[in-house]
Amino acid sequence: MGKQIMIIRSLIFVATLAHWSGLIGAVASAQTPTNTPAKEQPPAPSPARPFQLAPRTHYVLPNGTQVNLLQYGTVPKVSIEIDEAAGKVNEDPQHIDLSAVMAELMAEGTTKHSGEELARQAGDMGSGLSIEGGVYQSTFSIDVLSGSAAEAISLLAEVIEQPAFPARDLERLRADHLRSRATSLANPGFVSRQAFAQIMYGDQAYGRLLPTETMLKSYTLDDIRSFYAANYGSQRTTIYVVGRFDEKAVRASIDKNFSGWTRGPAPQTPVQTAASGAHFSFVDQPGAAQSNVIYGIAVPDVISPDATQLAVMNSLLGGSFGSRITSNIREQKGYTYSPRSSLSQGYGTNVWAENAAITTVSTGPAIQEIVKEIKRLQDAPPAAAELAGIQRYEDGVFVLRNSSRGGILANLSFVDFHHLSDDYLTGYVQRVDAVTPEQVQAMAKKYLNTEAMSLVVVGDPAIVKPQLNGFVASGK
């Protein structure tokens, strides 16, 4: 789902790097042998070293281009990202992913250079050009050696401002999108995400994960050029430069390469609404070894006064390795390997959901345990020590997330996307630490109404459906 995914990705990369192999929950052990000598206690940490976010330099070019510069780190590299506020929300529903196809086509040539020449120039700076279409934004980024910062900015500017849209490459990208569409639909995990997105957002942009084949086959260069003309321009452009770089040279390059660009259209940020009420969707996958399950509900968005309390509640309930749901269905029951709850953090909308691939015969029991954990939190506030552990975890992860140029850039972009101020970041730890056990309980009671939760299951109907009968009857 575009932009809001990035911050989550930077958070969990260590786990994916390791194939999730050590993902474990934590609840006080009942298995400890009783007649062993007293346990040695871990040494206490020393006082924390002060951590301060480096402030960004922000300015706006006369044509509306937003510029953000932040010096960080010792490694001689710099990340440059340009967010163009144009994506799925700007498409009409008959042209799903036109914005992404268009953005990808921009890497294939400008009025001055071929796609191959652009790729070589990027390689000469130590990187490749990366383009990703999103829901509200398309992202153009490059991560280069520090000495190439100014040139990299000029390369990105050329790609964004002077695309050639070569016809031959449109045909190739069309074939690629048709192929990856088929591949996505063969993946049970993707199928579950698509079914859940459709329940929550229907025909809105967050619900349109894939175009139809007919749509993809219909896109023309005229469609592409029209979309570009209607949606790209300096008023929709935000530049981020994070890492080690020569600020004078970078500012001069931005000025030279971006200040002459056309203003284009004003940004549009339509708000989408998540569905309310319980919905149930079962997608048949006969013979499946596991069921891909998503269980969730609409909750307030990231600008709500409840946002921090919700985030802490999520971390304690299912969002961290040591969370209650993970402890239960993974570490006690062994039903699944990688359960996780998350907040989608969409623009003006938010969905809490637990997502797990569960062994087929245990699908019903695992969902019952998820419900049980939600109700347990609704019935009683967490112990102060349990909550404190989660708060320290969230605080620490915040420091880690701000200890790489990619993480810092994702945070800045997140704040801007949601129209927050940098206080969101500088006050983050303080807000997390202020959450009380009663507030966590209140969040679960107020927002995680199990009578109104939606459920998606992709699995073997013969074995799994009978397991869900009781659940659907009583839960819905």
């Binding site: 052990s29 000469d124 691939a357 992709v458």
Partner: protein, 469 residues
């Protein structure tokens, strides 16, 4: 808009890559190089690398044991990985899940992973918690305290891991798990590393205890700390918590040699979930840290890494056979973090209307090109720049990337200082060197081609209409 090639960073790196000065105790190596570190061994054989980097108030800790999935017991495929899970199930002073709790409540992230030649356990945390982490890692190095119930639980978790990553996922084991099984002939390199589900089920508590006793000893491990900490203080803590862990008699390392391949191999595997065919091809790599190995590192950049690479340009951009060509050297890690025989692999998903022969014909056109004539100077320089740039990223990564390199060079080569010689060694090579290596290692006789075919009778019907409410 001229874009000159940038040499500044390369020159700085090369100048810094001189041998570090050793001082202090005889057994201790103190290097004040581009990447500074202190390297020593405890009397029980534990290797220790401490590397300061104060760019953020965090610390990364890794304990790497020289036991990978290659040398797990023959009747217990997947056991090295199952055992990795057991390291989180309880030790003398930390019950089940308390290790995780301890790291999380100190604001840290953690994980473990099982690879060809090592199993590692690592954490990244705010730097004030270093002593706590060292204590906890020492506790589980000293011994485990695990119940039958914990083992049963983790067999269930690991079985679900194999299902979600391989069995219930299109292209699940392709090519990272499949290819070594087809390309290699020595069992140690060619068995199913994730494990037969029957073997995972058969594991016993005795297996777990024996495995820890055999391989999880200080003389088979390296401890690496990278980040914002005081080296003298860290040395005291390392001594306090690790020095009294007894060493063990390690079994002789089995013969991992992969015999030279005489003819091209071809294999086919059906994927019952895939809707489009896929293709992978692998070449056996030269031995690590040799001149040919450095050259292959650059050939990987030239052939496969980035949109500028020759195979991406040919297969993706010019011919449109695939949306991407992925791959590289050591698909379960990187160029540096392995010891035994390794593969250089490329893989892609393609449409039914393009044959394997067509694709391999296009691949051969490119590969023969680098065998028959030297690459031009600009291409070589670009490969060197990309490689250095990637190395910087590896060194960043919350310090965990630097932990990985220092651990590998200490564990496999007894020389963490290799980290500071890499750039110089890559930059020494000439187009003629690369051509010579290409002729030796990119021959079809050194290659395995693996086709993934679409099942003719699909078992699943994913994508079907959702059911009612």
């Amino acid at each position: 808009m001229p874009r000159k090639r940038r040499w500044t960073a390369l020159v700085v790196l090369a100048a810094a890559a001189v041998a570090g000065s050793a001082r202090g105790r005889a057994q201790e190596q103190v290097v004040t190089d581009k990447i500074p570190f202190t390297y020593y061994k405890l009397p029980n054989g534990l290797k220790v690398v401490l590397s300061q980097d104060s760019s953020a108030p965090i610390v990364a800790v890794g304990v790497y044991y020289q036991i990978g999935f290659r040398i797990e017991p023959r009747d217990r495929t997947g056991f090295a990985h199952l055992f990795e899970h057991m390291m989180f199930q309880g030790s003398q002073n930390l019950g089940k899940m308390q290790f995780i709790q301890l790291i999380q409540k100190n604001g840290g992230i953690l994980n473990g992973s099982t690879r060809f030649d090592f199993t590692n356990y690592f954490e990244a945390l705010p730097s004030n918690t270093l002593e706590t982490v060292l204590w906890a890692e020492a506790d589980r190095m000293r011994g485990l305290d695990i119940t039958e119930a914990n083992l049963t639980n983790q067999k269930g978790v690991v079985t679900n891991e194999v299902k979600v990553n391989v069995i219930n996922r299109p292209y699940g084991g392709f090519p990272w798990l499949d290819m070594p099984q087809y390309a290699n002939v020595n069992w140690y390199n060619a068995h199913n590393f994730y494990g037969d589900l029957k073997d995972i089920e058969a594991a016993t508590l005795e297996d777990v205890i024996r495995f820890h006793k055999t391989y999880y000893s200080p003389n088979n491990a390296v401890l690496v700390v990278v980040g914002d900490f005081n080296v003298d203080q860290a040395k005291q803590w390392v001594h306090k918590y690790f020095a009294n862990i007894p060493s063990s008699d390690l079994p002789p390392r089995p013969d991992l040699t992969e015999p030279e391949q005489a003819a091209e191999k071809h294999a086919t595997k059906e994927d019952r979930l895939a809707k489009k065919p896929a293709l992978g091809f692998s070449y056996h790599m030269p031995e690590r840290l040799t001149k040919d190995w450095y050259a292959m590192g650059l050939l990987d950049q030239i052939l496969l890494q980035g949109d500028d690479s020759l195979l991406v340009q040919e297969i993706v951009k010019k011919r449109g056979y695939a949306g991407s060509v992925d791959g590289g050297i050591n698909q379960l890690g990187n160029l540096y973090d392995y010891r035994g025989p390794m593969l250089f692999t490329a893989n892609l998903i393609h449409d039914d209307n393009v044959s394997t022969a067509q694709i391999m014909n296009a691949v051969d056109g490119i590969i023969q090109g680098v065998m028959e004539q030297p690459v031009d100077a600009a291409t070589l320089r670009r490969a060197q720049i990309k490689l250095v740039s990637a190395l910087y990223d590896q060194e960043g990564n919350l310090g965990l990337g630097k932990v990985d390199l220092l651990a590998s060079f200490a564990l496999f080569d007894d020389n963490p200082g290799e980290i500071n010689t890499l750039v110089e060694n890559f930059n020494k090579l000439t187009p003629a060197d690369l051509q010579e290596t290409a002729k030796k290692y990119l021959r079809p006789q050194n290659r395995t081609v693996l086709e993934i075919t679409v099942a003719t009778k699909p078992v699943s019907s994913t994508g079907a209409a959702p059911g009612g409410r």
